[in-house]
Amino acid sequence: MKSGNPPKRLMFSSFLLFFVIFENQVGVGLAGFQRVIFERAGHDAWVSICMAGVWAHITVWIMLRTLRLNPNKDLYEIHKDLYGRFFGGLINALYMLYMLAAAIVISRNYVELVQTWIFPEIPTWLLSTFLAMLITYGVLGGIRIVVGICFMSFIMTIWLIIVLYFPIRYAEWLHLAPVMEASISELGQGMLKMSLTIIGFEILMFVYPFVRNKERASLPIHMGLLATTVLYVVIMVITIVYFSPDQLLRTVWATFSLFKIVIFPFLERFEYVAISLWMLIILPNLMMYMWAASKGIKRIFSWKQKYALYAFAFMLIVVSSLFKTRLQINTMNDNFGKVSLYIVFGYPWILYAAVLIKQRFRREKGVMS
């Protein structure tokens, strides 16, 4: 596929972007983000999340401007256009690795969740293999299938919010007071710690060319971001009022610990259901990243995307198995969070500046000749 419009049969309607953005942001980070932010910002953690949400909106706005200046190009092509074949290829390779790493981080974290909560003795490679097979199966269907899975996943998992009524019954609303006790720098640190949880919207740079009616794309995108931020804030608030401060600092996956109090007459342990359903929540994440990463191989080396996908799926299994302990996984998450901060929140600005400079340069050239 040369640049220019992708074929009509591969395109999807713009309103689906809402689900793509939402599902790609909501992932494994949601399981245990509360503690990390609470460490920094205390009971004002929800303010940090609002700030991170606003920042995400601004970043997406910049991304959209960049994309509009380069119609029908995804990020790989924009890079090639900007930095030339060699440097563009290098940056593309880095971005591709980042997305592959994202997929690995997500799947490894999920596997750890299952190992901690349900099957302590399940080997990592086994679950990773299952996930890798599912991902491969989905991505082989192409972008429209992956977007469809985003939609399906949203419909099938959004009802979990209702269950949060149970922890609210044990809520101590006093925990939220006094509001704004944290200093600006503490709130800022909390916001930075949100990176791992709030990333996912950078996928926009790759799916945008496939949107059928681009002029109406920005509303669903921003709505998706808003929905994610609201969800995170709601869950953070419930977490703060449900746990006492020191208790929260000792809780690794606060979201599932919230589910631990849920009890139905016909179902005593709801968290088992929640963890199993979580697979549906992370699946769109994994598929999107794998789709975008394997596309990178096609763009850089002009190989078949299918083979790249197989290779990446295999890598996912192997690399996931290298991480064994809670400590290693924590370190991995921290480092990935730091890197993602630069790539997702910082880099779009540089990119936008570069695109503007290039345009001006071209315009001057045009005037000269």
Partner: protein, 375 residues
């Protein structure tokens, strides 16, 4: 199409290998722990008593009691496994009982292991036993087939009936780790073939420091929880009633009231002392009166309302004094303080020093809603 058939067949072929990777849990081969009791043993070890429920149609006894000694509670489970033919699992654990002697030394490590284990629900009940826990679990009750389930239902019934404060694992851990709030747990005692649930234990963090009677626990619950219903027998001073009805004999009036709904508000008045005010609004219903006063008259109703309020104020003051004496704050004044004072950096030690000096102004407003079907 053909490809997916190939993939599918590969998956099906590999299925037996994959499923072999996870430990199977066959119900007939498991011993389900329903209740555990912890007692102190010699040399700082703990004695654990577990009651296992068995799924075995052939067995006469559906329960089995295992008593073991170990240094840690997970060590207890390993020791239990060595004593029984089935694998001990704690997913069905419903009640944990701690001996008061252990409770005095602190039980956070024992409670923490329960909350750390993902298999154990956060909704299990923690209790303190009068005397040894072993004594309750190993006793053969003629009318109770499974003491674990019985205890669970009994505690649940009392919590739902608003007789005792909720004592789930989550709430205990929450209050232990909270600065400015301490947990309370109910006391179980066995007298002959009977199980009683009367008293409530006060904790300082995770150490037992005192006890409350059932009446005191009722008052505590009134302040602490969003209260719905619970009934209490109180005796009122007869003086005001004598004015209404000169023929009245005796020097007190006993009544039983049922609390239909109530709300309590704790406010911080002055952070420097610290002083607090508690406002309680109660809607009550009279269930029983020891005299034949005309409950239809406005004056009588007013007299009852003010007397009930006075009695509650007195009881609450007494309760607070009692908790201050043992430096335990089950009501959560510290949390209020922490929420209202900016940058207080309240620590546990700080609050322990402050709390005994706290002044509390209590204000109770009682509204008599109903007095039954006769007047």
């Amino acid at each position: 199409m053909r490809k997916s058939v190939i993939v599918l067949s590969i998956i099906v072929l590999l299925l037996p290998i994959w499923t072999g990777c996870v430990q199977k849990r066959i119900l007939e081969e498991l011993g389900l722990v329903v209740v555990v009791g912890y007692d102190p043993a010699e040399k700082d070890r703990i004695k654990g008593t577990a009651l296992l429920h068995q799924i075995d149609p052939a067995a006469k006894e559906k329960v089995q009691v295992v008593v073991t000694n170990a240094n840690t509670s997970k060590g207890l489970r390993n020791a239990q496994n060595r004593e029984v033919s089935k694998r001990v699992v704690s997913g069905q654990l419903r009640v944990a009982i701690y001996n008061e002697k252990l409770a005095r030394n602190g039980i956070i490590t024992l409670a923490d292991t329960l909350s750390r284990d993902s298999v154990i629900s956060d909704t299990i009940f923690l209790t303190v036993s009068r005397g040894s826990a072993d004594n309750i679990i190993t006793h053969r009750f003629p009318e109770i087939s499974n003491i674990g389930t019985y205890l669970y239902k009994m505690i649940r019934q009392n919590i739902q009936g608003e007789q005792i404060s909720s004592c789930t694992l989550h709430e205990f851990i929450h209050d232990v780790y909270s600065v400015g709030k301490d947990p309370v747990l109910p006391v179980i005692e066995r007298i002959g073939d009977q199980i009683l649930l009367n008293h409530t234990v006060l904790f300082r963090n995770d150490k037992m420091v005192g006890e409350l009677s059932a009446d005191e626990a009722f008052v505590l619950k009134l302040i602490r929880d969003r209260y719905k219903a619970g009934s209490l027998e109180i005796s009122l001073d007869a003086e005001p009633f004598r004015q209404l009805k000169p023929s009245f004999q005796g020097n007190k009036v006993d009544i039983v009231i049922e609390n239909i709904s109530s709300s309590s508000q704790i406010k911080l008045v002055d952070p420097s002392i610290p002083s607090f005010s508690i406002h309680i609004k109660m809607n009550v219903r009279i269930q029983e009166v020891s005299t034949d006063l005309k409950l239809g008259e406005k004056k009588v109703i007013r007299a009852f309302e003010s007397e009930i309020s006075k009695e509650f104020v007195r009881r609450i003051q007494k309760l607070i004094a009692k908790t201050q004496a043992v430096q335990s704050d089950p009501i959560g004044f510290g949390e209020v303080y922490h929420a209202k004072v900016r940058h207080s950096n309240l620590t546990d030690e700080k609050w322990r020093e402050m709390y005994p000096n706290a002044k509390v102004h209590v204000d109770v407003k009682t509204i008599m809603v109903r007095s039954g079907v006769v007047e």
